[in-house]
Each structure stands twice: as structure tokens, then as C-alpha cells.
């Protein structure tokens, strides 16, 4: 069945996906809100940037991140100047890469959910004495809850399935940056098909279950239109 190294890879994968999802929800929510509300004429530029990881080969993203995070890159030298070490080939670097890689999967569902709320409920809340922050948390967030669920699950699942970016900036260090998708690749390279089967099957089941959950719950969440 699963070797110890596989279990370590599984734990790293889940830790990476969880951390990435949490950070993305925190960062992506205000970004998505702004993108849903703003009438800034150059908003499309930002939208295009957010959507880039959807179409860009992960190796391209990974390559630039590697350059940036390495000891001579802007982020890497900043880390060095702060007394740390370059982020390339570390778990922290992996988290940073995943944040970029999974950004659209969190921001887009949130933006869509916020857009579909429309302005009216927020105006109503304002006439009922709710301050902007108050109405965001008591009206926008509850009305966008299905968007949050979708964003969280897609962000998580997409990070679990990440391969190219991890390979580029994380290397393949067992116990540090070796994630499941790479472990599977290694097994196949080594012709260990049975282990590859276990891991692949497990991943397939996990992703399917999560997505099924989202769609089932979203159907129940759907609010009857006024």
C-alpha cells in the first residue's frame, strides 16, 4: 500500500492546499469584492492578470517564480536582506507559487457571487443603518456563501493537483517539497504502478468527492430569487 514517503507527500500536499486556500480566501475576498464593484475603466487589466494562471503553462509561471525567488531574484534577495534564505526549493516558496497558481480559482467564483448579489441588498442595508464593513459581513458574505464554498473547494482541489509549478520551484525534496502529484510521477518513472494506482485513485476520489459536495450543497444553498 502506501509507503512512508507517500504518506509524507500526502501530508505536505494537504498542508500546502489548506494553507494556500486560507491565504487566498483572505487576500482574494477583498480583491474579488473590488473587482465586482469597481467601475475603474482599466479594471480589465487586473482581470486579465488574475486569469493568467488559467491559460499559462505552469512551467512558465514556475520559471518566473523560480527566478524571482532565487538568491538573485527580487524576492529572494529581499529575503536574504531580511536575514532569511531564498524561497526557492522551500515549502514557503511552494506556498507562494500555489497562491499565484490557484488565484483565479478563488477570485473568480467570489467575484461572480458578489456581482450576482447586485447593489440593492447593500443599499437596503445602508438604509437600515449598517456601515460599509457591517453590511459586507452581514449581507454580502451570507448572500455569497455558495461562492465562498466554491472558491474554497476549487482553490484547495486545484492546489492539490498542482504539478508543473511545484516541479519548477519546489524541486522534489522528500519531506519538504515533494507533493503527491510528483510522488505519482516518480512511481511511474520507477515503474511502480501499484503505488501510482493507490495515489492516483486516492486523489481522484478526493477531488471527485469535494466537487460533488460543492455542487450538492450549492443546490441546497440557492436562494429563491426575490
Amino acid at each position: 500500500m502506501l509507503a512512508n514517503s507517500d504518506i509524507t507527500a500526502l501530508i505536505i500536499t494537504l498542508k500546502l492546499a489548506l494553507l494556500t486556500t486560507i491565504i487566498l480566501l483572505v487576500v482574494g475576498t477583498p480583491l474579488a469584492w473590488w473587482m465586482a464593484r469597481s467601475r475603474w475603466r482599466y479594471k480589465f487589466l487586473l482581470e486579465a492578470v488574475v486569469a493568467l494562471p488559467l491559460v499559462l503553462p505552469p512551467t512558465v509561471l514556475g520559471f518566473y517564480l523560480l527566478v524571482a525567488l532565487g538568491p538573485n531574484g527580487p524576492l529572494g534577495s529581499l529575503m536574504l536582506a531580511l536575514g532569511g534564505q531564498p524561497l526557492a526549493f522551500t515549502f514557503a516558496g511552494l506556498v507562494m507559487g500555489s497562491i499565484f497558481y490557484s488565484l483565479p480559482f478563488v477570485v473568480q467564483p467570489l467575484q461572480q457571487a458578489f456581482t450576482s448579489i447586485g447593489h440593492r441588498p447593500m443599499e437596503v442595508a445602508a438604509t437600515l443603518r449598517a456601515s460599509p464593513m457591517d453590511r459586507f459581513f452581514t449581507v454580502a458574505v451570507p448572500l455569497a456563501r455558495s461562492g465562498f464554498l466554491t472558491a474554497a473547494v476549487l482553490g484547495f482541489a486545484h492546489t492539490v493537483g498542482e504539478f508543473g509549478v511545484v516541479l519548477m520551484i519546489g524541486g522534489n525534496i522528500p519531506g519538504e517539497t515533494q507533493v503527491l502529484s510528483i510522488a505519482i510521477y516518480d512511481h511511474v518513472e520507477a515503474l511502480e504502478y501499484s503505488q501510482a494506482h493507490w495515489l492516483s485513485g486516492g486523489l481522484l476520489l478526493l477531488c471527485f468527492t469535494m466537487l460533488m459536495g460543492v455542487y450538492a450543497i450549492n443546490r441546497r444553498f440557492s436562494v429563491t430569487p426575490a
Binding site: 440593492r120 441588498p121 443599499e123 437596503v124 442595508a125 445602508a126 438604509t127 437600515l128 443603518r129 449598517a130 456601515s131 460599509p132 457591517d134 453590511r135 452581514t138 449581507v139 451570507p142 448572500l143 436562494v223 429563491t224 430569487p225 426575490a226
Partner: protein
Amino acid sequence: MSIQARFTIHRQEFVLDVDMEIPARGVTALFGPSGCGKTTLLRAIAGMEHCSNGFLQVGDMLWQDGTHFVPPHQRPMGYVFQEASLFPHLNVRRNLEYGIKRVPESERQVSMDQAIDLLGIAPLLNRKTHQLSGGERQRVAIARALAVSPKILLMDEPLSALDLARKQEIMPYLESLHDELEIPLLYVSHVPDEVARLADHLVLLEEGRITASGPIGEMLTRLDLPLAHDSDAAALFQAKVAGHDDQFDLTYLDFPGGRFTVTRKDFPLGHSVRLRVTARDVSLTLERQTNTSIQNIFAATVEEVIPEGKAQVTVRMLCGGVPMLALLTRKSATTLGLKPGKQVYAQAKSVALLS
């Protein structure tokens, strides 16, 4: 106490340019055709439509001038939207509580129970919003706006999304708001009937500008304004119950120009009612008729006669200082020699009790 507002708002192919002062009591209707800017004006008063150079003072509260802008959530107002716009994630009770919770206890003048009673929504409290009918939703929305103890209530065509039956369901509640609360109400409408029932003061809007503003009875009967030329043009009378006739089952209603006799209404003596007499239901005579079935006859002085197409004229008269309209044929007007100053008797064939 008054409401002073000055706004210039530019929209695509539309400019709202108003400067008005209206009384901060009773019901003021912002009346005009669709697209005349009445909703934009109401939203500007609520602070939801930005206008950098506006001025707005409601009673002693300055809400906007060149340097100040009080954001909507800090204005002690209630707002009822065209569609009820209840929060779908909260049930009826939690919708009502949403506003109340955010009003400091010292500022609560309308209790939740009062709001619930006034709109008759006690049986609905535990329902989900999508289980309500259109009329029920709008009643909840009105109660929700009232429950924040507003200093002014703003309503944007609260009945327009409803069918006739639902309108008739809500109208009595709106009338009771008018009668029982001290809160001034600003009401946007394009329906003359609603305005005649509810408004005390009328602001006429056309293409983003105010064309006239004044007391409702005056505005409905001014011959230089369109309302007096509507096919349903009518005059309003504020009258008090003076007595009941048990033998014939009638009620007498007195106003400064005389006494109306209507079929019995069980109101207490002194109760104030609003009556409407349509211009086409009024005929004029030069002498008081005695051999007639018409009960409601009033001495009046002709103020103005204006042609209505080729065959008809609209006559504006005063009965005890109260304006009244009659729609006659031009031939009758000529035969009677109607001109300003002429003494006549106005006979009202039918009288509608509005409240």
C-alpha cells in the same frame, strides 16, 4: 420645519436639476411620468445618488452641503424600495430586527411591536421571505423601514410592482401611516389615484425639473398644470363627520364650503375624511335647484374657465375657499355665461370617500 434640497445630477441623456423646499410633515408626493427623475431625486435625498455640489437639510439636520456629506447609514431615515428587497437569507423577523439592532436604544421611537401592528404582519414573522406574497413582502419592507424610527420616510413607488388587489391590500396601511405617525413621508408615484389618496403636498417633476409644488388640493385643480386636464381630474375636500342620519342611513360631512351627504359611514363625530369629486361628475346651475335628486349642492364662485379641446371647458371654482373643478360642454358654459367672478351652484353627482 422643512426639507430643503438642491441637486444637479448629470446622467447619460438626463439632467436632474432641482431646488425645492417642502414641508417636513405629512405626505409629500414626488409626482411625474416615468423617467422624469423622481426616483433619482429620492435616491439623492437618501444619499445613494452622488452629487458633489448638492445641498440637503431635513428639519434641523444638515445631510449634505459643499463640505459635508452624511453617508446613507448615518441618516435617520427609512427607505422603501420599489421591489420589497427583503434580505433572502433572513426570515421576516430577522429582517425587521436587522435595522432595529443598529439603532441606539435612546433613539428608538417606534417599537418593533408597533411596526408589526401597524402593518399587520404578526402572523408572518417566522416565515421565510420567499414564502410571502408580493403584498406581504411590501408590508414587511415598510415595517422594516419604520422600525428604525426614521425622522423621515422615503418611499419609491412602493405599490408599482403590485397588482390591483395587492395595491388595495396595502393602501389602508399607508393611509394609517399617514394618520397615525408624525413622521414626514416622501412618496414617489406616477399614479394620480395614489397621490390623491395619500399626499398632502405635491411636487410635480418633468424632465428632471420641478414644474410646480404646493398643497395637494391646489395642485390637482390648478388649470395651468396637467393634473386638472386629466380625464380623471378631480378636486379634494378635507371634511369632518358632522352627524349621521339614522332614518335614511346617511352621514353628513362638513367642509368650509358646505355639507356633503353620503351613504352612512360609521365614523365617530369629528373624524376627518378626505373626499374626491371628479370634474365630470359636477354640473353647474345659476340658481339653487330644489327639485333634484342631487344632495350635494354648493355655492361657488367661478375663478377660471379654460377650453378642453373644441367642445368642452374646465371650470375652476372656489367653494368656501376650497377649489373645485367642473367639466362642461362649451355650449353650457356659454349659455350660463360663465366667467371669473360669476356666482354659481355646483352639483356633485357622486362623491368618493378616500379615507
